[in-house]
């Protein structure tokens, strides 16, 4: 006796969260059944393995049918075929678009192209995430990227509107899209200690301050009709950053800057002497990063440079985080007292964001 056909259709579509997770994780029906058996569900419910198999198949089939709709979440809301309570719809969408930290770290900043897709095999092996799940996550990234790529307005809002994600998840996706678009290098060995959260934090700051969308009087105003692309860095701004060169090129200015900072921090910093000794190197590092940003190649290496030029030197001198914060605050603020320096606004736009990023990046 074999079951040729075995289905269950509810007027309200039944969604089993556990099975959904297994499906999202890319397990085959057989593996999923084995995992469910291991979870002890048979003992709890008195069901048989056959029942579990049938149930799992059924859910997988439902998810498979829902997947097409999940690719365009607003469709899930308006479709008539599956009657699903709104809270469940939200759960389906949120989980479908959720991603693994390990996976996103592998592809963050990479071009979302076929080439990368071919590498998914390796990523799967490396991370232990099933290939199926890797594909789903990659396709999600790519799909979101494609949809919002050419759109105006706030990146987060666009993502939320077209994919109905929670605020948190929409922000993460904004970061992913932003990184993919600017192709920031995140895979280097010295960047391995950074989490996706670190990058996402930086991305958000950069989107808020360094993109075209950030220009204008009210960058957060959604009604702003200007051509505010959140995805690309403001080219003009990057060009202007060259002006900051004077801070390190002009020896007087550099000395003055140093003395202002040292005066202010004397006695307040545990690593004062190290700071004093390293000031010029650090300052050069930070300013040079800024002036090089006109080259795409250097934009991509932004995080590598920041870690090399600032995070690593400080870390080797064992600066505590609080000292880094004191230093950066003072370092940015002191520039306002440099009479000969005319690009205060530019400096703030650059350093405000950079300070935030550096503080986030500074950990073990």
């Amino acid at each position: 006796m074999t079951s040729e056909l075995d289905i269950f259709v509810g007027n309200t579509t039944l969604i089993d969260e556990d099975v959904y997770r297994l499906w999202l994780d890319g397990y085959s029906v057989t593996d999923a059944v084995a995992l469910r058996v291991r979870s002890g569900i048979l003992e709890q419910t008195g069901a048989t393995a056959a029942v579990l198999q049938s149930d799992t198949m059924d859910h997988y089939r439902t998810f498979h049918m829902l997947e097409r709709l999940l690719h365009a979440p607003p469709k899930l809301l308006h479709q008539l075929i599956f009657q699903i309570p709104p809270s469940r719809q939200a759960l389906l969408i949120e989980r479908y678009y959720a991603f693994d930290e390990a996976f996103v770290r592998e592809v963050l900043g990479k071009k979302l192209s076929k080439g990368t897709k071919k590498d998914l095999d390796d990523i799967s092996t490396k991370t232990g995430i099933t290939l199926k799940s890797c594909r789903r996550q990659f396709d999600n990234f790519k799909r979101v990227f494609k949809v919002v790529e050419e759109m105006r307005g706030s990146l987060v809002d666009n993502i939320q509107q077209h994919f109905l994600l929670s605020d948190r998840l929409a922000r993460d996706y904004a970061a992913i899209v932003f990184f993919a678009n600017n192709r920031f290098e995140t895979g280097k060995k010295k960047l391995q200690y950074l989490s996706f959260g670190d990058f996402a934090f930086c991305a958000e700051l950069m989107i808020q301050n360094w993109t075209l969308g950030a220009v204008g009087e009210a960058p957060t105003d959604p009604d702003s009709q200007m051509d505010d692309m959140d995805m690309d860095l403001d080219k003009e701004f990057l060009q202007d950053l060259k002006e900051l060169k004077v801070l390190v090129a002009d020896k007087d200015l550099l000395d003055l800057h140093k003395s202002l900072v040292c005066t202010a921090l004397r006695g307040k910093l545990g690593v004062f002497s190290e700071m004093e000794a390293n000031f010029k190197n650090l300052s050069r590092g930070l300013v040079n990063v800024a002036t090089k940003l006109t080259h795409n190649k250097d934009v991509r290496d932004l995080f590598v440079d920041l870690v090399e030029k600032f995070v690593e030197p400080c870390r080797s001198d064992h600066w505590p985080l609080s000292d880094v914060r004191f230093f950066l605050n003072q370092y940015s603020a002191s520039v306002h007292s440099l009479d000969g320096f005319r690009h205060q606004a530019l400096w703030d736009r650059y350093m405000g964001t950079l300070r935030g990023c550096l503080l986030r990046l500074y950990h073990d």
């Binding site: 289905i7 007027n11 089939r61 049918m65 308006h78 719809q89 109905l164």
Partner: protein, 1049 residues
Amino acid sequence: MPGKLKVKIVAGRHLPVMDRASDLTDAFVEVKFGNTTFKTDVYLKSLNPQWNSEWFKFEVDDEDLQDEPLQITVLDHDTYSANDAIGKVYIDIDPLLYSEAATVISGWFPIYDTIHGIRGEINVVVKVDLFNDLNRFRQSSCGVKFFCTTSIPKCYRAVIIHGFVEELVVNEDPEYQWIDRIRTPRASNEARQRLISLMSGELQRKIGLKVLEMRGNAVVGYLQCFDLEGESGLVVRAIGTACTLDKLSSPAAFLPACNSPSKEMKESPLVHPPSHGCRSTHNSPIHTATGSRLTQNFSVSVPTLIYTGTRLLRLQSWGDAGHGQSGCRGRQAGMGSGSAGKEGGPFKALLRQQTQSALEQRGGSPHRFCRRREFPFFTLTAFPPGFLVHVGGVVSARSVKLLDRIHNPAFVGIMGNTRSYKLLDWNSFNSDEPETRDAWWAEIRQEIKSHAKALGCHAVVGYSESTSICEEVCILSASGTAAVLNPRFLQDGTVEGCLEQRLEENLPTRCGFCHIPYDELNMPFPAHLTYCYNCRKQKVPDVLFTTIDLPTDATVIGKGCLIQARLCRLKKKAQAEANATAISNLLPFMEYEVHTQLMNKLKLKGMNALFGLRIQITVGENMLMGLASATGVYLAALPTPGGIQIAGKTPNDGSYEQHISHMQKKINDTIAKNKELYEINPPEISEEIIGSPIPEPRQRSRLLRSQSESSDEVTELDLSHGKKDAFVLEIDDTDAMEDVHSLLTDVPPPSGFYSCNTEIMPGINNWTSEIQMFTSVRVIRLSSLNLTNQALNKNFNDLCENLLKSLYFKLRSMIPCCLCHVNFTVSLPEDELIQVTVTAVAITFDKNQALQTTKTPVEKSLQRASTDNEELLQFPLELCSDSLPSHPFPPAKAVTVEKASPVGDGNFRNRSAPPCANSTVGVVKMTPLSFIPGAKITKYLGIINMFFIRETTSLREEGGVSGFLHAFIAEVFAMVRAHVAALGGNAVVSYIMKQCVFMENPNKNQAQCLINVSGDAVVFVRESDLEVVSSQQPTINCQSSCTEGEVTT
């Protein structure tokens, strides 16, 4: 009443991409009704076109309005080649034809294609303007309401229950026409869908006409079925119960009281012309006139009847109950007598004259037009209090027929014309086909009637009919419950009558229906009678089988449970007569075994009555399957069932003996366990005072009597198993051993789960509002090697048990819950395939309250006082019981409720769609029950009766057979919901999937499925919302309470 049908095409969304080059679609819409077609403009390059068309107007007569569906076709415009069809929507406009139902159909409908399934949605608005027309020869029956619900619908009161109506329509099946060889599968499917739609419309109209002739205004328990006879054609048949209904709890409720008489006058022209619109169906013996070359009938009556000597118990009338509900007894009585003075008098007189007894009344109508023999049948399964006096037992009849094609070249030739089916009308077309089918059914009904008579009953309730077809063999089955009814309800349910009856009512009547209706000295079968355990005055049988729902006023001990008997019998493959003979020979044995199984299982559960019994016999190429489902209960009025005793045939074998005693112990343990599980603890009663065995000799005389009564063709089966206190199972061979084993293998549902196939679970009253309706389908392939009956039985048993286990597992999150109205359907699509389809609803209940369900008599009478039907009674309605006494002006209140409904509706939707999701899709509940737990149905919008075909030529790509059928059923649900929502409803009650025919050809990568569903579209309001309204009601006037309702959301 000719009318004007107006249609507006608003917009489309989610259309499929039809132009690969642009990834877009140039869509336009054709709107067709009858032979008239309109088109919208082409909306270029969009998947979400906004047509916003003008109103397309069709001027049509109402006959067409009733028969024809509105057909909307969405196409992709193509300049160079033929336009491609995207899909269609068929809209049944019937609900717009009666005043109380929907006034407009407006909403998003899925665009359906028989090959691709749902492809986007279209927004349509439909309206109908009807002109009054007193044409006395009209063929339409606009205004007659149809309900699938098999009880008096919630917001109505039955004035008169007229009785049985039936009709059938026959046509050639387009799938089997010559033209099918040259047209596409899509065209063929669409022709079929459209034909069936037309035929159902016509059928409904004809039934409506009959109802008008009977001076009714509604059909309750309407059941329409399709017989796909293959080569020999397509039969659409329907049965129902004609009633005159009053709307409750609205000012309009008073009108119908005067209405029926006035309607009678208006309708009278129809009634008198002697031959108009009627056909004679009493025809010559089938053998000669029809294609049937062989018929063999037999039938069975189950022992359960009885008779109450002299006292005709008059329960509180339901008319009364209706008053309690609406809270306007005084008013209504006043109005009632007023109308009676004017018209009611003559009306009543006429009716009385018509009838001596309910039965004779039916038989000998004074109107001389040639109505066929009347059958005192009722498709209802639940009744107003007092309607059911006694219940006899299950009566059933089956008949095996050979289908034969009508060879009529003219007939085939005209089929190209879409309207040609009209030509099959008996008046104009000389086909004897419908007469044949009519005669077949008439014969069966006649038999049922005589069985009922043998049980001392004049009526059959819970009546239903079904067929099983395999190739050219067809088994026709009918079954019901013989009963004695209170004749008052069949003639005049006038208010005075109600009052009289009320005065007469003074007895406890909870056990009345159990009392035997026939003379105990002249029993139709041997049975073991005792005095009723409740009243101790009347005789009751030891076991009662019925096809109806448990009467509300019955006293039940413990809970009920689903009991199934399953049986397979192999049969040789054979052709024509030989095949039919083989089947006929097998049937009695199957019937007998099914009953034996039921009886054994019932005893094993420690119960003594079955309700909702449905026995399905399915015929296949090489086997017959029998599946009986029922809900077992312990009726307090009936005696405690005896145990089951096992007896071996070879008593001298020691080890065998031991084995037997081991089995005996297991059985006894199981009974004890079941009693505990279902909480069956009847009070102890000493046997002596009750026992009253029937003297042997009398049985003989009854046998003679029965002999003389039944026709020669009929073989009566005695299923009573004699009169043994303890049931003895003799284990004389391996078969019997198997039987005993199978008895013990039925696993009870996991804790927290109950199941039944009736509307409500006896013993559970406190339903909470969560419901989940579902359909589950399984097909298994038998290994063809040396199949034996035992192996077959085991396979079938496992299939059903596993299916149930899966359901329990899937629905575990709803515990504690009950599977209600569990409906199994078995079919044998191919040689080695068995298909089981289950539709049921899971309802959650409150475990804590469940413990205190034994109702006090006070509660009981309170419940009976309110007129809503029994299910709703389970949830004391604040509306009728609480707020009424304090409220002196019932009509105002009624208005409030009516007005509240849209608001409540809105509440409901809002609640289910929190602001976070800007979904436009309202929730539509579906349930096979006639009620929605925790809610009140405020309006019936009309019946939903839909037929779909889905076909695929890329089965693997669609996920195999499971993927294909899963998607299709989901689509069917979606289309039902969309139609209900467009009518302004938020639920379908009495939902039923009447047919799910699945055929596959994996080698060709093809599959096809036909599904037919029906139900009643309704508007319901949550009781919690009602409370808000009614609690405010005394202080606030209608309007402010409405706005208040909105505010509270």
